[in-house]
Symmetry: C2
Subunit: 315 residues, 2 copies
């Protein structure tokens, strides 16, 4: 199979590229606005091609006729889309639409995996969220994701592509540095202490629950979607909430202690940031993922396993 | 107050222009891709300006600094958007987004009334539909309306405009000629017999129910929205289903007989068209409009009054 990954320099892009490049029969074109690296240590690095391209102006340069599936991962993240409205609309909506148009013309019917987000949900958030709940985004990022989901639905209904929109939970634990995202601490409160560095939790409520998914589970589900029959969903309704698990701050602290040792707890500070707390408390944190399970997507084994995975990755 | 109406040559555009141009204190810029007429018989025709413009390329030419409210009525209708995908996307999505961007820059915070449609709903359609139901459009027209609703929501949340998306029921009885729309017969089965012409109902089921609204009620509600406080709805959630009434084919036939006379019934043929019947049966036909009523929008008095109105308009 031959793949295209947009936003291939990003965390999820690299994660999927790594999985693909460990299978001999897979080839992939990695594209991004910077040169995307070929993930280190993969078995078949020669099966990757690298292409630096701006999808806003040059979607045609990245689409090859022999594509079997496309992962659309490029995008401006939530804080960036809120700060720079024009940039978010251009990259998150216009570049995606331009790519879908190009795919429709060059690879009609190709499987498209669009990375959407739980940010499509906004208030009122019900106690338990599933795909029947109406998305009412409260960020430009969420609105842009919802617009692209609507495009994927209509392009699929018309047979232009064979799309799925996967709404990702917060992915934790992510490697790398803290970001401006309100969710950044959900990785940082484990990652930084394991490195011997301080990390701040922006609210003082250990019962506060977040809906998260480990990188490993998400990567597995992103490969599984290649095998899902198109008619598993109605042709005009393609979003699926990817499985996650609800985890409290106390449970995350307990996992850090168990995997990293008690001394790491001293590196965690709980200091309320009212602005961040407001954003965090507006997010849905309890999902019914039975639709995904019926389609064979896997449940996340939970946060402690994610901490173990992350610790092992540091070796 | 000074208004802009896009798609001003269309039926709803002319209806609102007529209302506006009967009030001395109102002025309006009427724009369309053809020269929009000034409705005949209005009291203050001198208060209208006419501008032919293509919003796809020249949104800036139609937006004046002193606008108090904008009615966005331009668009390719449902059958046209299904037949010509590119044209529907360009006119229904891109021209609307270009207009919103221009409004944001030239008239920040302006009241925008966006004409959406019940076509945003698709299967599964629940027994009773209200604004909490998730839209799952099954036409490109419906998808394009949903995308623009999402834009209006986000532009309003950010304070760029003060928007409302009004989802119109099928407007009946419309003057003019039959169209290719599946709903065309809902006007034609009254309009044509009153003119002494034959009309075909494309299904044989007199209990079949449609959700319709008279032109007069819709026009009244389109003026009422000017007075609705912005905070009547959450800033990120601006669609409202405009009031309609459920009417069966039998009730429509009864209204024709009562208003037009028994001899008109001979001009109605019931001949099943399976393709049209399928579309018609996929539409929601029972709404809970209590959200609109709470905001002061008026209930439609029903189909018989619409027949009386139409008959009077022929004099």
């Amino acid at each position: 199979m031959h793949f295209l990954i947009t936003g291939a320099a990003g965390f999820i892009g690299q994660l999927v590229a790594q999985t693909i490049l460990n299978e001999e029969q897979y080839t992939v074109l990695l594209t991004d606005v910077i040169d995307p690296p070929i993930p280190e240590g993969v078995k078949y690095p020669q099966n990757a091609k690298i292409l630096r391209a701006d999808l806003c102006s040059a979607a045609e340069s990245v689409v090859e006729k022999n594509l079997d599936a496309v992962y659309i991962f490029h995008g401006i993240m939530s804080s960036g889309s809120e700060e720079n409205f024009e940039l978010g609309m251009r990259v998150n909506v216009e570049a995606t639409r331009s790519l879908l148009e190009t795919l429709r013309k060059i690879c009609p019917g190709v499987r498209v995996i669009y990375a959407s987000s739980q940010a499509v949900y906004g208030r009122p958030v019900p106690d338990i969220v599933d795909e029947s709940i109406r998305p009412t985004p409260e960020s430009s990022y969420g609105a842009e994701k919802l617009i692209c989901e609507t495009l994927v639905n209509d392009y699929t209904r018309r047979g232009f592509i064979d799309g799925f929109s996967l709404r990702f939970p917060t992915v934790s634990i992510r490697p790398g540095k803290p970001t401006a995202a309100a969710s950044s601490f959900l990785s940082g409160m484990i990652r930084e202490p394991l490195k011997g560095q301080e990390s701040v939790i922006p609210l003082q409520d250990r019962s506060f629950t977040s809906w998260v998914c480990s990188p490993r589970t998400l990567a597995g589900n992103l490969m599984h979607v290649l095998t899902v029959p198109s008619l598993s969903l109605p042709l005009h309704d393609r979003p699926i909430n990817m499985p996650g698990t609800g985890v409290t701050i106390q449970e995350m602290i307990d996992a850090l202690e168990k995997v990293g040792g008690k001394d790491k707890l001293k590196l965690i500070k709980e200091i309320t940031d009212p602005a961040q707390e407001k954003i965090l408390r507006s997010w849905a944190n309890n999902f019914d993922n039975s639709k995904a399970y019926k389609m064979g997507f896997q449940q996340d084994p939970g946060f402690e396993q994610a901490v173990i995975d992350y610790k092992e990755s540091l070796r």
